[in-house]
C-alpha cells in the first residue's frame, strides 16, 4: 500500500511537471507580452518617459495632474462615454433580437446566422474602408437618402455626425458576434422549463419574461461586460476613418492614448491616461456586477 501511494505522488508530480511544460510556451508569451507590459505601464505612468532619451525622469503624480487640466483628455472622456452609452444598449438589444429571430424555425436559418456573423470576423480595417465609402458625400447612404429627397452630409467629415456614424458601424459589426453568445445562451435553457410554463398557462410574452430573460442573465452579463470593454477600447475604426477629427469629435480615450504616445512621444503621459482608462473600466464592471450579478440559470 505505501508503495502504491508513493508511486501515486510521483505520478501526480510527473503529471504536474508535464502540465507546466505544456503551459510554458503560453506562460512565456503571456508574461512577456501581456502581464509584463500591464505591470510596467503602472510604473511608466509616474515618469516623464521619452524613448528619445536614455534616462527617464520620475514625476510622481504630475502626469495625472496634467491630465486633470487637459481639455482634449476630457473631450476624449466625453466621446468615450457617449460611445459606450450609445453602442452597448443598442448592440445588446439588436444581438438579442437577432438571436431570438434565428433561434426560430425560419427558412434558411443557417444562412442568416452566417450572414449576421460575417461582420464580426471581417477585419476592422476592411469594414472601416467600406464604411468610409458608404458614409462619403457621394456614397451609398446618401444615395439611398436621396430617394426620399434628403441631401445627406459628408458623415465622417462632419463634427456633428462623425461619432454617431462610427458608432453605427460598431453596432453593425459587433451585434452578430454577440448574437452567437445569446444563441448559445438560448439553447442552454432547458426545454422542460418552457413546457412547464406552457402547462401553467403562461403566454408567449410570459414565457419570454419569466423563462428566457432569467435564463439569459449570465449571457447578458457577459455581453454587456465585453461590450463596455470593447467600446471603451475603440481604436481601429477611429484611426482608419477619422483620425480623431473633425474638431476632435471622434477622439476617444484609446485614440488619445495612442497619439500621446506615438505622435507626441509622451509615453508616461499616455500610460497615465491608460491607467485612468483601466480604473474606469474596472469601476464600471464592478458597478455592473453589483446590478446584474451573474447566476447560473
Amino acid at each position: 500500500m505505501p508503495n502504491s501511494r508513493r508511486s501515486g505522488t510521483t505520478e501526480r508530480y510527473r503529471e504536474a511537471v508535464s502540465a507546466y511544460f505544456f503551459l510554458l510556451p503560453s506562460l512565456v508569451v503571456l508574461s512577456l507580452f501581456v502581464f509584463g507590459p500591464l505591470v510596467f505601464i503602472l510604473a511608466v505612468a509616474f515618469f516623464d518617459w521619452n524613448l528619445f532619451r536614455p534616462e527617464q525622469h520620475f514625476l510622481g503624480a504630475a502626469n495625472f495632474v496634467e491630465l486633470a487640466g487637459d481639455e482634449l483628455f476630457f473631450t476624449a472622456l466625453r466621446n468615450t462615454a457617449v460611445y459606450a452609452l450609445g453602442v452597448v444598449p443598442i448592440q445588446t438589444l439588436l444581438a438579442l433580437l437577432l438571436a431570438l429571430a434565428v433561434n426560430q424555425n425560419i427558412p434558411a436559418r443557417g444562412f442568416f446566422r452566417a450572414a449576421f456573423y460575417i461582420p464580426a470576423i471581417t477585419s476592422s480595417v476592411v469594414t472601416s474602408i467600406i464604411f468610409l465609402w458608404i458614409y462619403s458625400k457621394p456614397g451609398l447612404l446618401n444615395y439611398v437618402l436621396s430617394w426620399f429627397g434628403i441631401v445627406g452630409p459628408d458623415w465622417i467629415g462632419s463634427p456633428k455626425y462623425a461619432l454617431g456614424a462610427i458608432m453605427a458601424l460598431n453596432v453593425w459589426s459587433t451585434s452578430g458576434y454577440f448574437m452567437v453568445a445569446f444563441l448559445a445562451g438560448l439553447q442552454a435553457i432547458p426545454v422542460s422549463l418552457y413546457e412547464a410554463a406552457r402547462i401553467d398557462g403562461a403566454s408567449s410574452w410570459g414565457r419570454f419574461r419569466h423563462v428566457t430573460v432569467p435564463g439569459l442573465k449570465p449571457t447578458l452579463f457577459f455581453v454587456v461586460t465585453l461590450g463596455i470593454i470593447g467600446t471603451f477600447q475603440v481604436f481601429d475604426q477611429i484611426y482608419m476613418m477619422s483620425a480623431g477629427g473633425p474638431v476632435n469629435a471622434t477622439t476617444t480615450l484609446s485614440y488619445f492614448i495612442y497619439i500621446s504616445a506615438f505622435r507626441y512621444f509622451r509615453f508616461g503621459y499616455a500610460a497615465a491616461a491608460a491607467v485612468v482608462l483601466f480604473a474606469i473600466i474596472l469601476l464600471v464592471t464592478r458597478v455592473q456586477q453589483k446590478i446584474a450579478r451573474p447566476e447560473a440559470p
Binding site: 524613448l51 514625476l59 504630475a62 496634467e66 487640466g69 481639455e71 458625400k137 459628408d154 463634427p159 473633425p246
Partner: protein, 433 residues
C-alpha cells in the same frame, strides 16, 4: 507518460526557440550593406530610387545599398526607429521634422562632412532650402527637392466666364470665384464653384503671410489671435459663406485637386505633385498654373524634402557617400524626372532649363516669396491649430473666439514653449515642488 513529457518539453523548447529566432530575426541585417529608407509618394519615385541605387553601386563597388522603403505611415515608423536606434543609415525626411528631431538629438550634424568634401558645393543649393535643414547653426540634412504652392486654374471655365488670366490680388480672387460659380446645367443647383479650399493648415498659411500675419512671431510668441491672422481666415471663410468657395468634402471630393480634376471647381491651390496627379488621373481636365494671388504682399509656402543621417548609424562615412550622391548634381537630375518636385540645386535647375518650362517656372519663381513649412512648436500645438481650422471651415465657427479659445487651451496646457526640453524641465521642477 514519459513520452508525453519528452514530447511536451521538446515542443515547448521548440516554440520558445522559434519565438526567439523570430524576435532576433527582425534585428538581423546584412552588416555590409548600407540601409536607405524613404516614403513612396508615387510609383515613379520607387523606380527612380532603385535606378539611382544601381548607378551608385556601379560607381562604388564596395558599397552595396539596401533600399527599405516605408509604404505607409512613414513618420510613425521612422520616429520609432529613430527612438530605438534601429533606423536605416540614410533616411528621407521632410524639413518640417528637423526642429523636432534635433530637439530629440537623433540626427548626425553634417558640417564636417560638407567642409571636408571639396567636390560637393553646398553653395549650389537654394539657400532657403539648405537653411531649412540647419538648426542652431548646424546642418542636419540636405535638401533633395521641393515644391511651392501655386494656383491651379481651369482655362476653359475661365474663358466661359470671360476671364483672361489668373487673379493677381485677393479682390480679383474673390471676384473671379464669384463669376466662376455657376449652375451649368440649369437645374437651379450650383454645380461649379470658384475655388476649393483645403482644410489643412498649410493651405491657409500663405494667405496669413500675404496679409503680413504670423502664426508664431520671431520671438516665438503665438500670434495667431492677432488681426492680420484673423482677417486672412475671415477672407477665406467669407468666400465659403458667400457660396463661391467649397471644401473638398462639400463636393464629395477626397482632396482639393480631386474636386478640381472632376471639374467641380475652377481654382485650387496645390504643389507640383498635383500636376503629376492631373496627368495620371484627370488627363482631360485642362489646367494652368499661376502664382498665388497676393494680399498686402506676395507669399507662398514651400515643402522641402531631403535626406539625413541618424546619429545611431554605425557607418557614418559610408552613409555620407550615399547622401552626397543622393543630393549631388547627378542625384538631382534623377529626382527631377519624378516630376513631383523641383531640384534643390540651382545648377540642376539651370542645366535642365526649368526657367523655360511654362509649368515649372511658376513653382520656381514662387520660391522667391515662399517660406518653408516648418515650425519650432510642439506637434500637439499644430494638431490643436488644425482642429480650430476644422471648426472654422467645416462648421463655420466664428474666427476670433475660436482662435482665442485655441490660445487659452494651449496656454493652459503650457504647450507654447518652443521645445520639449524647457517644457520637461518645467514639469520636473513642478514635480519636485
Amino acid at each position: 507518460m514519459s513520452r508525453v513529457v519528452l514530447f511536451s518539453s521538446n515542443s515547448g523548447a521548440l516554440i520558445v526557440l522559434l519565438l526567439a529566432l523570430s524576435l532576433f530575426g527582425c534585428d538581423q541585417q546584412d552588416s555590409d550593406s548600407l540601409r536607405l529608407t524613404g516614403w513612396i509618394s508615387s510609383p515613379v519615385e520607387e523606380t527612380l530610387t532603385r535606378s539611382f541605387i544601381d548607378t551608385f553601386e556601379r560607381r562604388h563597388p564596395g558599397l552595396p545599398v539596401h533600399y527599405e522603403p516605408i509604404t505607409a505611415n512613414y513618420m510613425d515608423k521612422l520616429l520609432l526607429m529613430l527612438a530605438t536606434g534601429t533606423a536605416p543609415d540614410v533616411v528621407m525626411l521632410e524639413a518640417f521634422w528637423i526642429p523636432l528631431l534635433v530637439d530629440y538629438d537623433v540626427l548626425l550634424p553634417l558640417d564636417d562632412f560638407v567642409a571636408q568634401d571639396p567636390g560637393f558645393f553646398p553653395e549650389d543649393f537654394e539657400p532657403a532650402l539648405l537653411d531649412a535643414f540647419r538648426f542652431n547653426g548646424k546642418l542636419y540634412g540636405l535638401p533633395k527637392d521641393y515644391s511651392t504652392l501655386v494656383l491651379y486654374f481651369n482655362p476653359a471655365m475661365f474663358a466661359k466666364a470671360g476671364l483672361a488670366g489668373a487673379p493677381r490680388t485677393w479682390d480679383e480672387f474673390a471676384e473671379y470665384a464669384r463669376r466662376l460659380t455657376r449652375d451649368t446645367d440649369g437645374d437651379g443647383i450650383v454645380d461649379q464653384y470658384g475655388y476649393c479650399h483645403a482644410e489643412a493648415f498649410e493651405y491657409s498659411l500663405p494667405f496669413v503671410w500675404q496679409n503680413r500675419g504670423e502664426y508664431f512671431d520671431a520671438q516665438g510668441r503665438a500670434a495667431f489671435d492677432e488681426p492680420a491672422f484673423v482677417k486672412a481666415l475671415s477672407f477665406l471663410q467669407r468666400m465659403k459663406t458667400d457660396g463661391v468657395a467649397v471644401m473638398p468634402s462639400d463636393v464629395g471630393a477626397a482632396w482639393n485637386m480631386d474636386a478640381f480634376g472632376r471639374g467641380r471647381v475652377a481654382m485650387a491651390i496645390s504643389g507640383l505633385w498635383a500636376a503629376n496627379f492631373m496627368k495620371e488621373t484627370y488627363a482631360r481636365t485642362p489646367y494652368r498654373v499661376a502664382p498665388l494671388p497676393a494680399g498686402k504682399q506676395a507669399a507662398s509656402i514651400a515643402f522641402v524634402a531631403g535626406y539625413a543621417i541618424p546619429k545611431a548609424t554605425r557607418h557614418p562615412d559610408k552613409a555620407w557617400q550615399v547622401l552626397r550622391y543622393l543630393t549631388g548634381p547627378e542625384g538631382g537630375r534623377i529626382w527631377e524626372k519624378s516630376g513631383i518636385g523641383l531640384p534643390a540645386r540651382r545648377s540642376v535647375t539651370r542645366d535642365l532649363e526649368l526657367e523655360r518650362d511654362p509649368l515649372k517656372r511658376v513653382f520656381l519663381r514662387s520660391l522667391d516669396h515662399a517660406r518653408v513649412w516648418q515650425f519650432r512648436v510642439n506637434q500637439r500645438v499644430l494638431d490643436e491649430t488644425q482642429s480650430a481650422l476644422q471648426a472654422i471651415f467645416l462648421t463655420g465657427a466664428a474666427i476670433q473666439p475660436t482662435l482665442a479659445d485655441l490660445k487659452r487651451r494651449l496656454e493652459r496646457g503650457r504647450l507654447l514653449q518652443a521645445d520639449s526640453r524647457s517644457r520637461e524641465s518645467q514639469n520636473r521642477s513642478e514635480a519636485s515642488r
